[in-house]
Symmetry: C2
Subunit: 342 residues, 2 copies
DNA sequence: TTGTAAGCGTTATCAT
DNA sequence: ATGATAACGCTTACAA
């Protein structure tokens, strides 16, 4: 079964007493081929159940019409939405996607990237793992003349195309909103500060405090609270302080916010009256918790489309000079019950 | 930048005054090559930043070491988990994944499949769209000598490798559980009956009623309630019946169950006392709604791994005879507050 | 408009 | 152990 030989342009040519090149031309809808013969070729191609061998075609043409995508986890809402967005845009252009996941591990990320280089993909789209600090593997992509686009979690030092969220601004907006709602002691759950996105979110938090004349308090900023469990633990710690916070900004994710909410519920602390909660990412469940959780929408699907379109634009750009280009998407604060005091 | 020529085995051969074939052998770790020269070749390969052109290699070898995956939607928990599972298993074997989404449209599904055939993938893994009734495109895969594995939503008539959930049994279990909890008038929200999985779930529902001596009531079975919105509408309809149901089995998804819950909450109907609710798929939010929602776990990640391993097994099977093989995974009922009456 | 032939980068099969 | 050469299937100058 599996070894059945597939029809090639030679088979078609032979059957029609034509030259393979004519068949190729017809199949590529070249203008310089007789309409009658073209029809004939197309007809017999269909009869013989011919499908082009893209491998051969791409080898000859020197590109693969394939984009490689590396994300920490495929089955995370944000990433799968971005991928869906990329797929949506690239599909229309006849491009294929090769998806890899790093599982948040640096080693696997390197491996993924190398595989994609081997595959001679035309472009690699990546959001780095939480472990990633070195970036030789990304430089390597560039060295192979492969287009590199970073998104969301990007390595700042590397001059590549980038699509990011304006994390600082959205973080600033969220905290400002909470201050406006009358919260005075706002705690921050931070993600690993290795990652630029988490640094930015912290910066936004600090800037909001500053602009409202509130002094940051070290005890209220908890490092590495980036999972639901870690956040729950952090929350217990925060709420047992002599002067506990009256709001918590779970800047890492909605899962963290959920951890906060669960602990608050167990401790019978009223949200939003006694404690305000804000998450990040607009996961679908934030709408249906009680109370619903204020969060930040990152427009993930749109982000994916933007990444893809950025690539196509860059392709069309015939200049040999590579212009570093960064697109920043402004996330949107979604205010819900968990921070609405009246 | 982009057009930079990449190092080939010729470049290495030239530099070392060797024959390309020797280089190839060394790079493939062939035993019939001098250890010293092998070392030398590997060293200069690294120096010249060589990476194998998989396109050429695969063309020569006659396969692509690539598996194509077609799903209705990438960004749905169930599917992204399955994909993650497939990726996890195939990655270790040096395989790549090409992901496509049909967006639940038949036309796009056909297009996806054809692209994958063009790509000369070694295997196509598919879960068909809700629109799919014809299956010429799948037959076509077989005709090209490409391995085809269906999962979850499968076309029964087509004899291929399959990995399915035992939908009927899990559905039976869910309804039996509800009956045990004292629910007497259990309504069913059905998915499109074109899809085998939804037919099976209905069958399981009917069998459970029968075994417990309950006669099915036509008014309590609502067709095509397979989104949150449709389910909400269906729920309003059901609850306004002269004799409304005392439980609703949202057999299509947890999103449907959510629709039910929201309407019940609005109508101030107490769950689970006045109305029991059961969903399907164990989406992460089912745990955190109030009340939490009873649902069915499909072991999606494991399902993906199973699909991948099925392929590898089949590969090793050197018999020319193709043995149709179907693996059924037994889902697990997760009972939660929404159906727990005491 | 069609045919000829070279080449994309590998690998497999010879021969040396 | 290494070299020469053909072939995988397609595209594209160039020639006719």
């Amino acid at each position: 079964m599996r070894s059945k030989k597939r029809t090639t342009i030679y088979d078609i040519a032979e059957k029609l007493n034509l030259n393979p090149s004519s068949v190729s031309r017809a199949l590529n809808n070249s203008s310089s081929v007789n309409d009658a013969t073209k029809k004939l070729i197309l007809k017999t191609a269909k009869e013989l159940n011919y499908t082009r061998n893209t491998l051969a075609s791409n080898l000859r043409k020197g590109h693969s019409k394939t984009i490689g995508v590396v994300v920490p986890r495929i089955n995370q809402n944000f990433f799968s939405n971005v991928i869906a967005g990329i797929e949506d845009a690239t599909y229309k252009q006849g491009y294929n996607l090769i998806i890899c996941q790093s599982n948040e591990q640096y080693e696997k990320e390197v491996q993924c990237v190398n595989t994609l280089i081997n595959q001679h993909v035309d472009c690699i789209v990546i959001s780095v793992s939480v472990e990633t600090t070195a970036h030789d593997h990304l430089q390597n992509v560039l060295d192979h003349g492969i287009q590199l686009i970073q998104f969301d979690r990007v390595v700042d030092e590397l001059e590549t195309l980038k699509v990011t969220n304006d994390n600082e601004q959205s973080s600033f907006d969220a905290v400002s909103h909470m201050i406006t709602q009358g919260y005075k002691r706002i705690a921050l759950l931070e993600g690993p500060q290795k990652l630029n996105i988490f640094r930015q979110r912290k910066t936004g938090y600090l800037r909001a405090l500053k602009e409202h004349g509130i002094a940051p308090i070290a005890d209220l900023m908890i490092e590495n609270a980036w999972t639901k469990e870690l956040s729950a633990a952090a929350t217990r710690q925060l709420l047992s302080l002599p002067e506990p916070p009256d709001a918590i900004f779970a800047s890492t994710s909605d899962f963290s916010a959920l951890g906060v909410l669960e602990v608050a519920t167990i401790m019978q602390i009223k949200v939003p009256q006694q404690l305000g909660i804000c998450g990040y990412a607009n996961e679908n469940f934030t709408e249906i918790t009680s109370p619903s959780i204020t969060t930040i929408d990152q427009f993930s699907f749109y982000m994916g489309k933007t990444v893809a379109n950025l690539y196509f634009q860059e392709m069309e750009n015939t200049d040999t000079v590579v212009v570093p280009k960064v697109i920043s998407i402004k996330p949107k604060l979604i205010t819900r019950a968990s921070t609405t005091r009246e």
